[in-house]
Symmetry: C2
Subunit: 476 residues, 2 copies
């Protein structure tokens, strides 16, 4: 059978199984938004985009794909930054969008848990939790369009990892369609269960390479009634990290965010929004946005004030102010958002999401700055990020007048010099963005031979035909 005939037969089978709007031809204009990645850097190809409305339809799709030897790229909100859901095989691949599996199944207030279809948008889950006076703490820039299934498949991070953990730490149960079409059922809301291998841990972070997550049960938390936000200035990242340790102790781990912003980023925030103005008098090398959430019975203001007093006393803090209103707190956070906006205005640049041990954060930033200064004259480093998790976005802007192709050509080499530094420190090139296709080679390169072997063995155990997201995570 020719490839064309095989695809045509498969499309017939899909149309037989799904309703009309469930099957989009890969060449149709409607398919484009599923084939373009969020960065806009890549346009992929697929023979069809499929939009099942039930778990049963997902299983049917998998069986049809298996029969016609089509690969499957599961896709959530398609907001990833590493081309994890962009394939380029118009004859051999389908995109399976979970967007119509979008029902919140149930909320159990006594168990503090929520069950949801994989395609529910993160913000909807947050809203549903809030309606019950609870908190689903996962918080990302893309929360208005990313889906919980994608968050789980990439073990997404975000701004509140400090207090509540990565997505992995929030997942109690999973349900997934395996590559043989069977449904793996693990939708348990148990908080304590140590029976044998925990399969869901493999699916979390597997980026669609082992199966298709169709349902999730997550932990909820009490919604903090009091939120206190402070904007601080420190002499160095060293001081900032020591301040963070002090904050953990004094605030009893009630901090929800501890973000650092190198002073060089302030100009970028002003580029993003000319009205931006940090709420501090002096010109501090490191700006810090710190947030704490607690119940009404705890005086969060006193906690922060106690911390600031002790930090001044210990010489860890240059200046600091506590938001007196929600509007002021939002203004502090706006600086963090504006600096991302400013980078976007500068066009193509080098982005990272590095992580190291907290004790290595200052050394990592120093070394990266030195590397750029010595090897990439005219390029401008920016260091900011989730310092409380050891996760720094060390980005680099190209010289103003550099042509895009030259930037694109230099990017892998700029990244390589930063990655070398992180690798030497035992860190990660991917704190929260994942591997996908754009970082697959560096991922594979860093893995030890033992890990590569385990990885292949696990992949074969789940997906012997190699039909799940080929080209993601692993070389094809």
């Amino acid at each position: 059978m020719s490839a064309e005939q095989r695809v045509a037969d498969a499309l017939d089978a899909f149309r037989h199984s799904l309703d009309n709007s469930g099957v989009i031809d890969g060449n149709a204009p409607d398919a484009v938004r599923y084939l373009h990645d969020w960065t806009g850097d890549y346009l992929g190809a697929a023979c069809a985009v499929l939009r099942p409305k039930s778990v049963d339809e997902v299983q049917q799709i998998v069986r049809i794909c298996s029969k016609y030897r089509l690969a499957i790229i599961p896709q959530g909100g398609n907001t990833g930054l590493v081309s994890g859901t962009v394939g380029n095989d118009a004859q051999g691949t389908i995109v399976l969008s979970l967007e119509r599996l979008n029902r919140i199944r149930s909320i159990d207030p006594t168990n503090f848990t929520m069950r949801a279809d994989a395609g529910v948008v993160l913000q909807s889950m947050k809203d549903a939790a809030e309606n019950e006076d609870m908190l689903f703490p996962l918080a990302l820039g893309a929360q208005g369009s990313c889906q919980i299934g994608g968050n789980v498949a990439t073990n997404a991070g975000g701004i509140n990892v400090l207090r509540y953990g990565m997505t992995r730490d929030l997942v109690l149960g999973l349900e997934a369609v395996l590559p043989d079409g069977s449904l793996w059922q693990g939708m348990t809301g148990l908080r304590k269960d140590n029976r044998g291998y925990d399969f869901k841990q493999l699916l979390i972070g597997s980026e669609g390479s082992l199966g298709i997550i169709t349902g999730v049960e997550v932990k909820l938390f009490p919604r903090p009634a009091n939120v206190e936000t402070a904007y601080l200035g420190a002499e160095s990242f060293e001081s900032a990290m020591r301040l963070f340790g002090m904050a953990r102790r004094i605030c009893s781990d009630l901090l929800t965010a501890f973000e650092v912003i190198g002073s060089e980023c302030i100009a970028m925030a002003k580029l993003g929004n000319p009205d931006t103005r940090p709420p501090l008098e002096g010109d501090w090398p490191v700006h810090i946005i710190m947030e704490l959430g607690c119940s009404a019975a705890i005086d969060g203001r006193v906690l922060i004030e106690t911390l600031l007093a002790e930090a001044f006393e210990a010489g860890l803090l240059g200046d600091g102010t506590i938001a007196q209103s929600r509007a002021q707190a939002r203004a502090f956070w706006a600086i963090r958002e504006d600096l991302v906006e400013g980078q976007a205005k500068r066009g193509r640049h080098v982005r990272t999401d590095l992580s190291v041990r907290l004790s290595d954060v200052p050394r990592m930033i120093d070394s990266c700055r030195q590397a750029i200064a010595s090897d990439w004259p005219g390029w401008q480093p920016l260091a900011y990020g989730h310092a409380g998790d050891g996760n720094i976005h060390f980005n680099v802007l190209p010289p103003h007048d550099m042509p895009t192709e030259e930037i694109a050509a230099a990017t892998p080499r700029v990244l390589a010099s930063l990655y070398d530094i992180v690798r030497d420190l035992g860190g990660s090139f991917s704190a929260e963005h994942g591997v996908g296709r754009s970082r697959r080679d560096v991922y594979w390169d860093w893995l030890t031979p033992e890990s590569r072997q385990l990885m292949k063995a696990i992949k074969s155990a789940f997906d012997p035909q190699g039909m799940m997201n080929p080209g993601g995570l692993m070389p094809d």
Copy 2:
């Protein structure tokens, strides 16, 4: 080659690789304590007990075992309750004790982490953390002799899971010798790292079936400066669980323990210690021990008082008292310990560590009590445990005059009726004790066909020769 010759050759090879005290003949008197399980119910057999002093020696042992086709049972403190480390093949199995790999490798106060050999006793880790004014929160009855490697291999639970999670949640990095003798290196102290498959999650809870954990990097926490303990009386488990939800909200998740004790257990505590006396006036169906830990900057007393006032108001609480001293707090906890002691005095009985969703705890206890009352007249149920985690030890004492053989014969059937109830509720027969050999059959029976298949595939991927802890977790 005869089996005897093969074993003799292997023993020679072990003696060549390890020092004299590293090899104990399976028949030697010194071997007995490694072959007897902690419950004393089983005496196993092995051709040798090996006590390596380094990771390199562990690797050598694995290679020798592979060559001579000997199975390996890794053993930590040997304090498990499910015969996870007791083999019975005197010709084909060695016990590999990690007890001489007992060095704390390093503590990183900025990163709030500790690296340790797998054989370090849990209490030593807790002490080392405390010396640095930090907390390693894992807390178990056996903490004076269990080892961190065993805690990880079984994903141990304990008293503080509520606040700090299971062992799984405390592990940032692992190092393990794989069945081919290679060393899998994952001793990262990163808090945010979402690169691909997280192999360590498979080793956690694998009960020695996939490899030998030799090193661990764990999270540390600020040591709570204030600890408040309350002893409460409630009308029902329903009220207790609602109280717990209220406590989470008011105390901003600073609770470290929420234990329930059915009133029927108080007689058992008095059997354990005749001086035991609950600190409440009335005769409450449910006793609760609640503990909260926080920094010096938070008034924990006010939090508990606020909670008690609101709980009285809401009708969730009958009576309650807050410990006025550490001695009084210890007296509260002694009741919990005495009731375990009392059960031991009653001799052989049915022990469980069931878990269900928090919302199902009252129903589960009711159903179990009814099942015992109707099907096992003369047997006495006891319900107590870590209610904040949905984990109840629903134990059953046999009639006073029942001969031991009769108890032993009835035990599986008593367990079966309790397990059926938990299974119907989507719960677990093993919240924290693990599967081992004694619960392998029920484990296997409950697994879905999909999970059984995945389990076998993963086992084969790691351990194609089937040399790791045969008979544990899986049928031989």
